[in-house]
């Protein structure tokens, strides 16, 4: 009973983690940019959704995604692209930006946690024998699975995906064959940021939104990406489930030390496979 419920909650949390980490992994894997604004976008998405909820749940989710996509595009265009080829400057630039975004969120939405009510048809629970699963968490898992499949299809099965992969493998050659590399990277950045925003919005009914949510979630996403293997979508999925389970059970069993337990998977995976579970061997 305890284990089943715990596992279910772990998977729901893993779904949120996946939305967050997949966006980060997408940008990092394709562009070699570690976008540290990602956690702030997650929080911003949550806040945007709480403000737009008056227009309906779905509109709020779309607004969060669109807002973060727009901002992400601006970040790529005005900052990341300008610092092309300077990895460290890009990371630190996005880090500086994350402080600004988080601080402005605090200014606009104040310091109190804001929660978001799930839509009426997702309230309540599904009963299965003696177990009751909250519908909204079930919905989170379904959404994450859907996003995972959609992302995989886009990257592996569409012309857009092929162009992106070409641009990643050999930027100059891709340019020479007429692929608009810079615009493609902007698209990728928008997409990744939108995922963070949507993740934050969808997580709001479960986690609620509060200052510090960004720096709480970002390291978890980094762990997911490092454990799963950089740039690997399947790796992000496995990493999310792993961290989701360990973190959730850690919080139930050892609330004081739930953070320390995160060392465990990190130490084991890095000891055996420093490039991550599904990561390619570093060049």
């Amino acid at each position: 009973m305890f284990w089943i419920t715990g596992l279910f909650n772990s998977l729901a949390f893993a779904a949120v983690l996946f939305l967050l980490a997949a966006g980060f992994s997408l940008i990092f894997g394709l562009m070699r940019v570690a976008n540290l604004t990602h956690g702030a976008f997650f929080m911003l998405g949550g806040y945007l959704a709480t403000s737009a909820i008056g227009a309906g749940f779905w509109i709020a989710i779309v607004a969060a995604g669109a807002g973060c996509a727009l901002l992400g595009g601006l970040v790529q265009h005005l900052l990341v692209q300008r610092l092309a080829g300077r990895e460290l400057a890009q990371v630190l630039g996005t880090l500086g930006l994350s402080f600004i975004v988080a601080d402005q969120c605090l200014l606009i939405w104040s310091g109190d946690p804001i929660s978001l009510a799930p839509p009426a048809f997702l309230q309540g629970a599904a009963r299965l024998g003696m177990f009751a699963f909250p519908l909204y968490r079930l919905f989170l898992i379904v959404v994450a699975a859907f996003v995972a499949i959609a992302l995989w299809l886009v990257v592996e099965r569409t012309t857009l995906g092929a162009k992106i992969r070409a641009a990643v493998d050999d930027r100059e050659m891709a340019r020479a064959t007429g692929i608009p590399v810079s615009r493609l990277f902007t698209v990728v950045f928008c997409l990744g940021s939108a995922l963070a925003g949507i993740g934050g919005a969808l997580a709001a009914p479960v986690l609620s939104v509060y200052p510090g949510l960004d720096t709480e979630m970002l390291p978890l996403a980094l762990l997911v990406v490092i454990l799963g293997g950089i740039g690997s979508l399947a790796g992000a999925l496995i990493g999310s489930v792993l961290i989701g389970i360990i973190y959730t059970f850690g919080q139930i069993l050892l609330p004081d030390l739930s953070y320390v337990i995160l060392f465990l998977p990190m130490v084991i995976v890095l000891a055996v496979r420093p490039e991550g579970l599904l990561g390619r061997q570093a060049a």
Binding site: P219, L257, L270
Partner: protein, 324 residues
């Protein structure tokens, strides 16, 4: 010339307390020394070792908490607490180094960030030990000295000692090897150097210096809370290093001076320090990636040059190759 400069700055630092109008300013000067030492520790790793850590506040925090718990909670004498903090802080660096050095480059940066946040999470959640968000306050009896003037000179002496030792360390063959591994890891490896061990030593030295700064931190504030080991503090240290000039011995001290002064001045006018911090980050990275001093020199030289030629300046914002 350089020696004269160092002697001059040391002399100024020695008589500074008598030039300052009051204890408030003396406190800020002491803060600069402590944060300067912390920035030096980050620079040891980032500047000479080429490994940028975004979790160094974790070491500062572990040392400060180790001190506060030993001396405050358990009532041991300050010197025993210093020993315990040195031991625990360095041991933490030894363990974290084993984990973080499995990776390099951006992954290293990401993993140090995660490690730092894990330490923050423990300080925040493990309330039995750390008193959670409220932090631990120390009485006057639990620190080495509560007198501002004594504290200033203690911090100055420790900083000076660390700087002298570090300068010798950087010039030593081992220091040269650390820089070698930063610039040409493959060649160093081919030459038979154990690149992993060399990186690990750099990490340990850096962690040790951060530990020392953590002990000084808890002396001057007589207080430690999770905020002292947040990502913001780690990032401020990286900013100090970049602003002052990465990979230079005294640059981080200059950077610490600028950032601590800005923070104190800004706090008088606005609560929006994080926004300001972010803006300074962006400004330095975009306009002066090589640091404030060389950056200002370059921009000034460019302006004078264009003035003489009477031609429009072609902004020479050459991207440096420091990104690697």
């Amino acid at each position: 010339m350089k020696t004269v400069g160092i002697i001059f700055i040391t002399a100024i630092a020695c008589i500074l307390p008598f030039l300052l109008p009051g204890n408030f300013y003396l406190g800020i000067a002491t803060q600069i020394l402590v944060y300067g030492l912390f920035a030096v520790s980050v620079n040891t790793l980032a500047g000479y070792g080429g490994m940028v850590s975004l979790g160094h506040a974790g070491f500062l925090g572990i040392a400060a908490y180790a001190y506060a718990v030993t001396s405050g909670t358990y009532g041991f004498s300050p010197w025993i607490a210093v020993g315990a903090a040195l031991l625990i802080g360095t041991a933490a660096a030894a363990v974290f180094g084993l984990i973080a050095l499995r990776t390099s480059g951006l992954s290293f940066l990401m993993i140090t960030l995660a490690l730092g946040q894990i330490v923050w999470g423990v300080a925040f959640r493990y309330t039995d030990l750390t008193n959670g968000d409220n932090g631990i306050s120390l009485g006057r009896a639990s620190v080495i000295s509560a007198d501002p003037l004594t504290l200033y000179y203690v911090c100055l002496a420790v900083l000076a000692l660390v700087m002298v030792l570090l300068a010798a360390f950087i010039r030593s063959p081992l220091g040269a090897a650390i820089k070698g591994v930063r610039d040409q890891p493959r060649r160093m490896s081919t030459l038979g150097y154990n690149t992993w061990a060399i990186r690990y030593v750099a990490y340990l030295v850096s962690g040790f210096v951060a530990t020392v700064s953590g002990i000084l931190y808890v002396q001057i504030f007589q207080f430690i809370s999770p905020h002292a080991l947040s990502l913001t503090v780690s990032s401020e240290a990286v900013l100090m290093v970049i602003a002052g000039g990465i990979g230079t011995l005294f640059g981080p001290l200059l950077g610490a001076g600028v950032v601590v002064l800005l923070k104190n001045v800004a706090s008088a006018y606005t609560d929006r320090w994080p926004t300001l911090l972010g803006c300074i980050f962006l400004f330095i990275i975009i306009a002066m990636p090589e640091g404030l001093l060389p950056g200002s020199k370059r921009i000034l030289a460019g302006m004078i040059g264009s003035f003489r030629k009477g031609a429009a300046p072609s902004a020479s914002l050459q991207p440096t190759s420091r990104a690697r």
